[in-house]
């Protein structure tokens, strides 16, 4: 009794202020993120498990049960050793579905809001003795330090101080997220209590004793008398205690910290050895303090639990004992209040009064939680005031842990027994809790002896401690009723789906159903009715951001993911029951459609994510699945697959290249939601009864392509999903080749026809020409002579026309062995102009042949004529009436360059790069085949020449210049054609 009350309250307030400053520093970024998010910080924060029990209660238990006190630490250490098979699966589930508490998890798995409420109620009842334990130790510690007032009043003052701090903390936390500042505050508390405990242990070991050997010597000498009262823990009791403290993991505050605040799987796995190490360091000083107190014959007016205060009269040492307790109780109470208030909001208040269009929902929830934090802390004090004054720490602590252990069967079944159902879980839980209430909780409250009805065959337990009997009977009853009722009653469809989602190694297999809402904006409008406009808009935007989707995204697959994400986010805000109610009510699935089938694409994406966790046969099968998937994806033919409900499930790489549409942007769309022309084209084949459609014309990127589609039914066997698979082949080149063949055949026919016509017409024309010649010799009449000359000119013209037709028709075929002659470009151009005029078109276009008469190239005159006819026809088609087309030629290097320049509309930029590809045309449908320029290109290439296009030509506002470069004829003195 060496400190004043004001000093002690000052120490308490100072400690809480330090925590608040720590939280502020983290929130304002004064502490680097790499520090606050270090796994070590999380491990230290997890040390919150070591509550006032670890500081004072362990001393009490060690004095009576020896090493039995270690079960408090070893039980939870065992749970962390099992992190990979126990904690990590729960963490994954909690993360996926944004669950924040054991009640959330149970409500999600057993598909009932009332299950969540029941677990919340049990958690509240179980936690009250633990809170009372914290309050009692603080009241007693301050009393021991000051001797002022009664411990109960001191405890009330302490509770009010703590509640104020907790409410401030709730005000600073984001309502739905995890927070670095909480972890930092808890880690700081753990550091303080560890340092204080190690300080006390070091004082005992080196100041009271002279090191480890001295302790051993004392134990084997004078200490023997003190150890006589210790009852070695019975192995059965030991194991029961281990089990109880193992179940301590389900305490609301521990569950919240382990699964909601812990950042990653890696952090949890690291804690599997780091937390046991922390607990070892916390447990080590306990026997040393106890033995030192016994060796010093220290006074303990309030029980052996507070023996540390009697080790010395030094204020510093007593402050160390007080600080250890303060750090432990402060952190435990803070976290219990935060976790329990959240559970009460989500599973009691929101279930009773769903927030219908609540104005400023976030603020409303925050104030509700503040009120509940105050209620929880004061509830702890009240329980202590009514109950805690008359009971030791061990009784209070064990009552809490036995109560919480009743959720253990439900938790294990959640992970490892998909056959468990809600009725079984609730029946077992209620049975176990009733045994606990009658055997431990109510006797605490009333002081009456424990009421435990021993079932036949367990009479041997009659003389055992109450906590042991109640633990065995309640857990056995709970598990038995749970199993029997689960096996005897049917399980609902929803529960079965949730069980699959929760089972270890299970991949969620969601169903594919269409939603009523068509896009993100509609989601906002519908949710606004439940959440208010601003909250609905914020939540939908957040979910869209999380998924990287646009608000106008309309793919059914994407909308289902958006709905799931919204439900998970709302679950973090208001608990899974309320979130599910809101989502089911305001974002319902469309009724009356085809039956639901599995969302294969989603299952695949989950499998990809789980791949590193698959082992053995599952990994082999997954390897096989990936191989087949890759085969389909990389097939050099376009492939897509539709589900029975018309939703696109696959879009392979070849189809993505052909269509220019990435698979990720269309998978999950309905067929009619696909971009043009694919929706209509695929619909054509899906609605057709024929297994294939040949050479369907489709305009892709401005060019006409011909696609052949083949479809096959994916007939589902029993529970396998069905649908259709479609192969898309690009037959454009084949079509071009066919057209060219037809064209060549037509030209050949024209050639034959022309030859025949030339022969038939040639003879009479020769006759007419001869007669006209004779006529000139037979008369001197100038009028008749002029007529005869005109007849001769006209018959010459007819002969030339016929000969041009024959020549052009034969020029369509390339003869590799045909020798190349000197060709005069001016003549070829003249003949091409002549042929164009024959077509009775282009009369209103002026062709200006400026080619020098001597410009000669090496080539096949007929094929070059074909080139010129094509180039001039294109120039004519692009020109307006009255425009001119100029043809120039000049020597350039070893060749001659010929330019065809028009003043027409020019060539679109989008088409220019593909100008020489087949079927590329700028002419209206039906007027151009898109084969002219490819033919020109081929002929010029055969002549070792090159082509160049400028549209518009340099220095002109419009028009096109096509330049042809051909090798010059080198041989001197050769006869022109």
């Amino acid at each position: 009794m060496s400190a004043s009350l004001v000093t002690m309250l000052g120490v308490g307030a100072g400690f809480l202020l330090l925590l608040l400053l720590c939280a502020l520093a983290v929130e304002r970024g004064l502490v680097p993120t790499r520090v606050t998010r270090h796994p070590l910080v999380t491990t230290l924060a997890l040390g919150v498990y070591a509550s006032a029990w670890a500081i004072y209660g362990s001393l009490e238990l060690a004095a009576t049960a020896g090493y039995g006190y270690l079960t408090y630490y070893l039980g939870v250490a065992g749970a962390f050793l099992l992190a990979p098979v126990l904690l990590v699966p729960i963490q994954r589930m909690v993360r996926t579905h944004q669950l924040a508490s054991l009640a959330d998890l149970f409500a999600f798995r057993y598909r009932s809001r009332w299950v969540g409420s029941l677990v919340t109620l049990i958690s509240l009842l179980a936690v009250l003795p633990l809170l009372a334990l914290q309050v009692q130790t603080m009241g007693n510690a301050i009393y021991l330090m000051t001797g002022a007032a009664s411990p109960a009043s001191l405890a009330l003052a302490f509770c009010l101080l703590l509640a104020l701090f907790d409410m401030l903390f709730v005000g600073r936390r984001r309502i739905d997220g995890r927070h670095d500042s909480l972890l930092a505050v808890l880690a700081l508390s753990s550091l303080i209590k560890l340092a204080a405990m190690l300080g006390l242990g070091a004082f005992a070991l080196f100041a009271v004793f002279d090191g480890p050997a001295s302790v051993q010597a004392w134990l084997e000498g004078p200490g023997q008398a003190h150890q006589a009262s210790v009852v070695q823990t019975d192995p059965a009791h030991w194991r029961s205690l281990l089990l109880l403290f193992f179940a301590g993991l389900m305490m609301p505050h521990i569950f919240h910290l382990v699964f909601t605040e812990t950042r990653s799987r890696h952090t949890l796995l690291q804690a599997s050895w780091a937390l046991p190490l922390f607990l070892l360091l916390m447990a080590l000083p306990v026997p040393l303090i106890l033995w030192a107190g016994q060796a010093l014959e220290a006074e303990a007016p309030l029980g052996v639990a507070y023996l540390a205060f009697g080790l010395s009269d030094s204020l510093a040492l007593q402050a160390l004992a007080f600080l250890a307790g303060l750090a432990a109780t402060g952190a435990t109470t803070l976290l219990i209040a935060l976790a329990l208030s959240r559970m009460l909001v989500n599973h009691v208040f929101l279930v009773a009064h769903p927030p219908e269009a609540q104005q400023d929902l976030y603020r409303w929830l925050q104030w509700l939680r503040r009120g509940l934090v105050l209620a929880v802390v004061l509830g702890g004090w009240l329980f202590y005031r009514v109950v805690g004054l008359n009971h030791d720490l061990t009784s209070l602590g064990l009552a809490a842990f036995v109560g919480m252990a009743q959720c253990l069967p439900g938790l294990l079944a959640l992970l490892y027994w998909p056959g468990a159902n809600r009725k079984g879980m609730v029946a077992g839980l209620v049975a176990g809790v009733l045994v606990w209430l009658a055997g431990l909780w109510l006797p605490l409250l009333t002081g009456l002896p424990a009421l435990v009805l021993l079932p036949p065959g367990l009479e041997v337990l009659a003389g055992e401690p109450d906590w042991y009997v109640v633990t065995l009977v309640s857990l056995a009853t709970n598990a038995l009723v749970f199993i029997v009722v689960s096996l005897a009653t049917p399980t609902s469809e929803g529960e079965r789906a949730a069980a699959e989602a929760c089972s270890v190694d299970a991949v969620i297999r969601p169903k594919r159903l269409p939603l009523e809402a068509a896009n993100g904006e509609e989601f906002k409008a519908r949710l606004a009715r439940a959440l208010g406009e601003s909250v609905a808009s914020r939540e939908v935007d957040r979910a869209l951001d999380d998924l990287g989707l646009s608000p106008l995204e309309g793919r059914p697959y994407a909308l289902r993911r958006l709905r799931d994400r919204l439900q998970a986010n709302l679950s973090g805000l208001m608990g899974p029951s309320v979130a599910q109610d809101i989502v089911d009510r305001y974002l319902p699935y469309r009724q009356g459609g085809p039956g639901a089938t599995e969302d294969i694409h989603f299952v695949e994406s989950r499998l990809e994510a789980y791949r590193s966790r698959l082992t053995g046969l599952a990994r082999e099968l997954d390897g096989l699945r990936r191989y087949h998937r890759r085969t389909l994806a990389r097939l050099p033919v376009g492939l897509c697959a539709f589900g029975e409900d018309g939703e696109l499930l696959m879009w392979n790489d070849a189809l993505a290249r052909l269509s220019g549409i990435e698979g990720a942007s269309v998978i999950g769309s309905r067929r009619d939601g696909l971009p043009a022309p694919w929706g209509e084209l695929l619909g054509r084949v899906l609605e057709s009864e024929a297994p294939q459609l040949y050479k369907q014309p489709v305009t892709l990127a401005g060019t006409t392509r011909y696609l052949s589609l083949h479809q096959a039914e994916l007939a589902g066997e029993e529970d396998e999903p069905g649908g259709r698979v479609i192969l898309v082949e690009d037959h454009s080149e084949m079509k071009w080749l066919e057209d060219e063949l037809v064209h060549a055949a037509r030209l050949a026919s024209i050639g034959q026809l022309a030859a025949g016509v030339a022969h038939e017409i040639g003879n009479p024309i020769t006759g007419i020409s001869s007669l006209a010649q004779n006529l000139r010799y037979d008369t001197d009449d100038p009028e008749v002579l002029q007529t005869a000359e005109q007849i001769q000119q006209l018959t010459d013209r007819v002969s030339r026309i016929v000969s041009s037709l024959v020549g052009f028709a034969h020029g369509g075929r390339h003869l590799p062995d045909r020798p190349l002659d000197r060709v005069l470009l001016a003549e070829v151009v003249d003949e091409a102009i002549h042929l164009i005029h024959l077509a009775r078109s282009g009369d209103d276009i002026r062709f200006d042949n400026r080619c020098p008469a001597e410009a000669g190239v090496e080539g096949d005159a007929q094929r070059l004529l074909q080139v010129m006819v094509n180039l001039l026809s294109n120039a004519r088609d692009a020109s307006r009436a009255g425009d001119g087309v100029t043809i120039e030629a000049r020597v350039e290097g070893d060749g001659v360059r010929l330019d065809v320049i028009d003043q027409g509309s020019g060539i679109d930029e989008g088409v220019r790069d593909r100008l020489f590809e087949p079927f590329t045309t700028t002419k209206p449908p039906g007027e151009g085949t898109g084969l002219g320029l490819p033919l020109v290109y081929t002929i010029i290439a055969e002549h070792h020449g090159r082509l160049d296009v400028a549209s518009p030509p340099p220095g002109h506002a419009h028009g096109t210049r096509i330049s042809v470069w051909l090798p010059r004829h080198q041989k001197e003195g050769e006869t022109p054609r």
Binding site: G66, Y67, L70, L74, G78, L81, L82, P84, V85, P212, V215, Q216, L219, E220, G223, Q224, H226, Q227, V230, Q232, T233, D234, P235, W238, R239, L242, L269, Q270, S272, W273, P276, L277, L280, A283, L284, P287, S612, T615, G616
Partner: protein, 58 residues
Amino acid sequence: MYVYRLMLFLVLGGYLLSPLMMSGWGSPGVAWYRPFVIWGVLIALTLWLEQKRKLDER
């Protein structure tokens, strides 16, 4: 997965055998720190298994 099985075996073995290992409070001839040494060895073993698991998952 094999590492996890080993860990399960370790925890179950520890659960059944720990009363024997942790007995001897204040008994002559039994070092007072024996339970803590056993506990420390278990932590070292867990740390080793955790490192092994990390290597397996790489």
